[in-house]
Amino acid sequence: MLWISVLLPHLPVDLREPAPSRALAVTAGIGPHRCLLACNAAARSAGMTAGMDVPAALMREPALELIQRSKADERRALHGLACWAHQFTSDVCLDLARWTLWLEAGASLRYFNGLHTLHAQLKEGLTRLGYTASIGVGPTLEAAAVLSRHRDVLPALNFRELRRVLAPLPLSSLLLQRAVLEQLQTSGLCTIGDLLGVAQASIGRRFGVELTHYLQRLLGERPDPRRRHRMPPLYRRRLDFAQPLEVLEGLLFPLRRLLQEFQGYLRGRDVAVQRLTVTLQHRNSPDTTLQLLTSAPQRDAQRLFALLREKLERTALPQAITRIILTAQDFVAPQIIQGDFFDDHARRDDSWTALLDKLRARLGPDAVRRLGLRDDHRPENAWCIAAEDQADLTAACNHPADGPSAACLPDRPLWLLQPTPLASLPLLLGTPERIEAGWWEGEDASRDYYLARTAEGARWWLYREVGTKRWFLQGLWA
């Protein structure tokens, strides 16, 4: 066995669309514990490093753009890469937490004209996909992973070489808990060679069998069974954009990346495709779906890209793009899968929600709206278009007993108008209600509201601005 380990040290930023000019970092954690997880090249050259806390980073680089980590995006990216990597070998493993892929290369060496060429092709392919990768080669998975953390270390092709190559490397290259690493360093052990020189019993006594087992797996003295990555029979790859894409140009790189991954998949399975679907999603508009039917089976990313691009340029995009999904299911040989995979959801009750869904499906999500309450003293701010997930009208007003609760909302006219200046006053009824709020938005409303009756008998809701003493009509009573 010979393993190639591919470490993606900047995976969380690399999986975003490339933007070399502005500093970008992905953050993890919340509140005071929020820190940088990975930085793009621009951010790194401005002195940002992974692990830095966010306020410190912002102090140094106020223009730094921050994106919250998405583990789901990382998982999708790594799976996409694993599919792509199948073109080199059928044996692919991955470790999401370590941002690492392993390719078993022993069987493919001859096919690729030796390790050197394979290494070069792998590296070039990754670069074209937009990933920074660091590659290590060794006879065990863990050894390859250790070596991948060092740029200038020769590959270890067998177990004899392995010990020699590992010996001078620092202990920090091993997969050790922070506390264990500190303990070892405090004891004066600095290199992997130092540690391997200590009797395993002495290590076990101090740090437990987890560490000795790990060292045994590292050296190939203990089997290291892993689950292999399997190629899915249907291809579906989704890519989310942190910032919605406004222009078509922005879409080209991600699309090319998806198609290249897809090409790796096709090669790995040794199939071609005839029908391909690209779905572009928008925040508030129905999806834009592009169906690509090729006259002949294809598996060349360049060709597919050219075809899709042409199609895209003829499509009117209603809105910025938030997500792109590539799906393919009709592969030519070895077998063809039929049936509608996406259509076997459980049927819903034909109830109110079903009606809403139907209306939405028919008219588009934007055409169907629901009103909601907002907790604000100003009448024009006391209502809103409810968010999709807002449960019901009163939810917004369910406060603890500290103040007025939803049960006793003040009397308000059902029909609100944009405040309209009044030239002449109708008959005012009763005492005024004073409402003052909104200073934090710059416009501090200060108004005395009155109920009024017009000569025609209509009941109006008026207010007088306390400062200017001007009169406005804002509502009509039923």
């Binding site: 306020p55 102090m59 106020p62 006594r205 907790d375 500290d402 709020a437 200073w439 934090w440």
Partner: protein, 1027 residues
């Protein structure tokens, strides 16, 4: 139609009221209200301030409090008489004591108990329909209060008119009269935004999201009478006056008695105090009492009897006697503490013959207010004294006074910015980016740096609201040691509530409140130096084999003064700061009184009054000593004609500006509290006019006024200096003649003082003290003395120096070793003393296992290998073949020393870097004094202190330590701006600048500051930042 406001919150109803008590009182008075009730929520914390303001403007103040029920209904209770006031205090105390700190809880039964003297007002929750009010209101109608009312407030709500009708009907049914209440939350309409902010802070939300949980408009302020007349029926307004007229109780009538039990049966307090004084005189002067002293004491006793302060002196004497009996070092200070009576009672050691202090000058007859005595105790044993006080008087009669924690800038920014809904990142960054000294002026600049336009609306709001909220009370905390002791339960006098510490209770008033009302307070403070001195004396006694106490320190020792004159004062009480160190060679103290001056001179008062340099010039003979007038010569002759002490300034006000003693004393008290009440302007006029009238130059008068302002921010009178100077002398003598015992005493009392252990040890080593490392085979918990080859005292570092080691673990190691002999190896240590692995690692890291296991790495490896085998197998773990671990290099050892001990006994870190530093052409600290002043030098060192005194117009003083000593830097604001990160963030600096070398004081005026922290690698160096 007139009006009295009966329902009003101050900002002492934390996060509810948005105006200071004095603002409310002044506003009510100027609007022509006939009276104002302050009814904070279950609290009387703001009442004394309101009382003071009300007395000043002549507005009748009603005292009350309000209580909120879970449904939102409220009861307000007003105290028409002292009896009612006592009931109110007890009710608040009960509510507060049965709930966690900062909250209160009352059940309905609690009201039924004892409120029969109070006037009660029922305020139904705003949102409840009249029907819902019936049941709780009829419960209220049955309460046994002296009178009951329904409170109606009209805030221009939609349903106000309807509500009035409903409440009228309710009142008729229950037979309760209706009264108008404003439910005031702030004094003027313009405070509405601030009130919204406080609501948001209380609800932990933003102002935009408060919505119906906040008020719909800003009507809850003190409204003009004309508006009220429009809103309320006349009879509701009239009732407010009826109620106000029934309230005749004022805080001035508060009756307070000192505790009685200190006086033996059959004696009066006066007789007892005289007896104690007589006994004390015979101890102080066994050869016979000097006539002058006897007549002084007679005069003082007469004054004490006249003002009836016997109990106060007896209380202080009793506490001091207790501390002495337990071997706890203590010392009194303050105006009355330096009286002859206190000297003979043993409260202080300041011999009145050495000072010209007159008691009557500080106990003024015009004000009936107790004298002030602070007692300092050893900081680690003060708790014993506090427990004694609690046990002697009982928790119901002794409590700590409160400290009002007010909004400072950083917290104000944090809270306001959050309430305005600024992004949390920005709030954090903003709060953190401010240095401790940045003024409000820096805020816009900081905002800009964080990418936030200071001219934007939000920024403008932020700046305005922050400025408003600064100084607002936030919560009550316990005072560091101000005890109030009373004959009767304290809760009849002032509400008592729970403090953060378990079993601690505090009263709702702070020390200024107590002062204002003339209540007895004894300050029991903790002073680290007393611990250090006691320990040094004990170590010296044990080493010499004979007892050596403070009294054995010879007076006026020339060698001690020589040392101080050289500016060598690291670790010495009060004069170890860097400003003091540079002052010592200039002032050249040669006597006790010089030390009194030394302690008092580096203070805001003399500095702000511009008195320091004139004094120094006159003392050095560069300027002739002259006096503004013959009268002032009497006051100023001991300080070369320059006023330095608070007392001198007060006397000048009396002699030169014609203030009466009582007036001068008012000035003194206003000084201490001018931030609280604002403004000393009235005194300025009178002072300047008075002095010019008597022929003094206007400039001199202005200087005196400036000095008064300076004393205000940190009053430090001679009476305190006098006591402190004794400790300065004692600690300086120990440093000079028993340096090993002295530094060991300091290390054993740490944390205290100005220096980290590393600097104390480095300084002592430069003075020839030999240190031995921490060693489990020979160290005690504390640092100890052992004899060197010539019989000199050397220091063995104690296990307490090991970072992270708990005292119990350390003591176990020592105890086991003393009872059963030295440890054979690390395993033996682990099993015999029951030391867990984690602790062994700490010991190994600190190098304390060297005698058992060899160098640090071997020790650590052995510590990790210790196995805890059960029962019979204990101590039988398998032998391992030894591991050949290379010894750490010097640099690695140094790193480990700092990590494990915080100091090293090896070479100084800078010594290791010296080769590289020489290539940068830097000088050593010790070389600086030999170089000529004015030349450009480059120095390097570890940053040990950063200081930016408020009195130094933005200058930052820094200290750099290298292997030869300390170099002192002066960094002007211009350089700070250019190199802010290096100045405030670096652990090691290389600095270029101009050398100033005058009178034994060396400074480098920094022009270029470079951060070289990376040269230290992971070395952790403690720097201490001071104001």
């Amino acid at each position: 139609m007139d009006y009295a406001e009966l329902l009003c919150l101050t900002n002492f109803s934390f996060q509810r009221g948005a105006s200071h008590p004095r603002e409310l009182v002044q506003r009510a008075s100027s609007l022509g209200y006939r009276a104002l009730a302050i009814t904070d929520e279950c609290s009387l914390a703001g009442i004394v301030r309101a009382h003071e303001a009300a007395v000043a403007v002549g507005l009748p103040l009603l005292i009350g409090s309000q209580f909120r029920f879970p449904q939102g209904d409220r009861i307000a209770l007003l105290a028409p008489t002292q009896a009612a006031y006592t009931q109110l205090c007890e009710l608040i105390t009960r509510a507060r004591r049965q709930a966690p700190k900062g909250t209160y809880a009352l059940r309905r039964e609690d009201f039924a108990a004892a409120i029969d003297q109070t006037l009660a007002i029922w305020i139904p929750a705003a949102h409840n329909e009249a029907a819902h009010n019936e049941a709780p209101a009829s419960w209220f109608a049955g309460l046994p209060a002296a009178a009951r009312y329904l409170g109606f407030s009209h805030h221009l709500a939609q349903d106000s008119a309807r509500r009035l009708q409903a409440m009228r009907a309710l009142g008729r049914r229950l037979g309760l009269p209706l009264v108008a209440v404003g439910d005031v939350h702030y004094h003027v309409r313009e405070r509405r935004p601030l009130h919204d902010v406080m609501t948001a802070i209380r609800l932990k939300t933003t102002v935009a999201q408060i919505g119906s949980r906040g008020f719909a408009n800003g009507e809850r302020h003190l409204r003009p009478l004309a508006s009220l007349r429009r809103l309320y029926p006349a009879e509701l307004l009239a009732t407010t006056l009826e109620i106000a007229q029934r309230c005749e109780f004022s805080l001035t009538a508060l009756y307070y008695e000192y505790p009685e039990e200190l006086v033996p049966r059959g004696l009066t307090a006066s007789e007892h105090l005289r007896a104690l004084t007589e006994r004390g005189m015979r101890t102080r002067w066994p050869q016979g009492i000097p006539q002058a002293m006897r007549s002084q004491i007679d005069k003082e006793l007469a004054l004490i009897r006249e003002l009836r302060f016997e109990h106060y002196f007896l209380t202080v004497a009793d506490i001091v006697a207790y501390a002495r009996s337990r071997g706890i070092l203590c010392q009194g200070r303050g105006s009355a503490a330096n009286s002859a009576v206190c000297y003979v009672l043993g409260v202080t050691e300041v011999d009145p013959a050495r000072m010209d202090l007159l008691l009557e000058r500080f106990i003024s007859k015009e004000r009936h207010e107790p004298p002030d005595i602070d007692i300092d105790f050893e900081h680690q044993r003060r708790e014993e004294v506090m427990q004694y006080i609690y046990n002697k008087y009982g928790r119901h009669r002794a409590a700590l006074s409160a400290t009002v924690i007010t909004y400072r800038r950083r917290m104000a920014i944090r809270d306001v910015a959050r309430a305005l809904g600024l992004p949390l990142d920005l709030v954090d960054a903003l709060a953190k980016s401010l240095q401790w000294f940045d003024g409000a002026a820096q805020l816009p600049e900081q905002l800009l740096q964080l990418g936030f336009d200071p001219r934007s609306r939000t920024a403008a709001l932020l700046l305005r609201l922050v400025a408003q909220i600064i100084g607002f009370p936030r919560h009550l905390s316990q005072h560091v040691g101000g005890f109030v002791i009373s004959q009767h339960p304290l809760s009849t006098l002032v509400p008592v509530e729970n403090a953060a510490m378990p079993d601690r209770t505090i009263i709702q008033w702070d020390k200024d409140d107590l002062d204002a009302l003339g209540l007895l307070k004894v300050d029991c403070l903790a002073l680290g130096m007393l611990s250090a001195i006691r320990r040094a004396l004990q170590l010296k006694s044990a080493f010499d084999g004979r007892s050596f106490t403070l009294a054995d320190i010879p007076a006026e020792d020339p060698a001690t003064y020589d040392m101080l004159c050289r500016g060598e004062s690291t670790g010495v009480f009060q004069v170890e700061s860097r400003a003091q160190m540079t002052m010592l060679p200039r002032l050249k103290p040669r006597s006790y009184f010089d030390l009194v001056i030394e302690v008092a001179i580096i203070r805001p008062g003399p500095i702000q009054g511009g008195m320091v340099h004139p004094y120094l010039r006159r003392r050095q003979g560069l300027e002739a000593v002259s006096y503004p007038s013959r009268e002032l010569e009497k006051i100023l002759h001991r300080t070369c004609g320059v006023p330095l002490f608070q007392e001198q300034v007060m006397e000048i006000a009396m002699v030169a500006a014609g203030f009466s003693a009582g007036e001068a004393d008012k000035v003194r008290r206003s000084m201490a509290a001018w931030q609280r009440r604002g403004g000393l302007g009235e005194y300025r006029e009178k002072l300047l006019a008075g002095m010019i009238e008597r022929g003094y130059p206007a400039a001199f008068a202005e200087q005196i006024y400036q000095q008064i302002l300076g004393f205000g921010s940190y009053g430090f009178p001679q009476s305190h200096s006098a006591s402190f100077a004794l400790l300065v002398y004692s600690s300086a003598w120990l440093r000079c003649h028993a340096p090993a015992a002295f530094v060991a005493g300091l290390l054993n009392s740490w944390p205290m003082g100005f220096y980290a252990p590393a600097q104390l040890v480095n300084d002592a080593r430069r003075n020839g003290v030999v240190f031995h490392p921490v060693d489990v085979q020979s160290s005690e918990w504390d640092c100890t003395l052992q004899a060197g080859s010539q019989g000199t005292a050397q220091v063995r570092l104690g296990l307490r120096m090991v970072a992270g080691l708990a005292e119990a673990a350390g003591e176990a190691i020592v105890k086991q070793r003393e009872s059963a002999g030295a440890y054979a190896d690390v395993d033996a240590l682990a099993h015999r003393a029951g030391v867990p692995k984690r602790v062994l690692e700490l010991l190994a890291r600190a190098g304390a296992l060297a005698s058992l296991a060899g160098h640090r790495r071997l020790a650590h490896w052995s510590a990790l290998g210790v196995e805890r085998l059960p029962g019979m197998l204990a101590g039988t773990s398998a032998q391992e073949s030894p591991l050949a671990l290379p010894a750490p290099t010097e640099g690695q050892s140094l790193l480990a020393d700092y990590r494990g001990l915080g100091l090293t006994l090896g070479r100084h870190p800078l010594a290791l870097l010296r080769g590289r530093l020489d290539r940068l052409r830097t000088c050593r600290a010790a070389d600086l004094s030999r170089l000529t002043s004015g030349r450009t030098v480059r120095v390097a060192g570890i940053v040990t202190h950063r200081q930016r005194p408020e009195t130094a117009s933005g200058v930052v003083f820094m200290s750099l330590e290298d292997e030869t000593g300390i170099s002192n830097l002066i960094v002007w604001p211009r350089v700070q701006q250019l190199q802010r990160q290096a100045v405030f963030g670096a652990r090691m600096l290389v600095v270029q600048g101009e050398l100033q070398n005058e009178m034994g004081v060396t400074h480098v005026i920094a022009s270029q500051v470079r951060d070289y922290s990376h040269w230290l690698g992971r070395l952790r160096t403690p720097a201490r930042d001071f104001r």
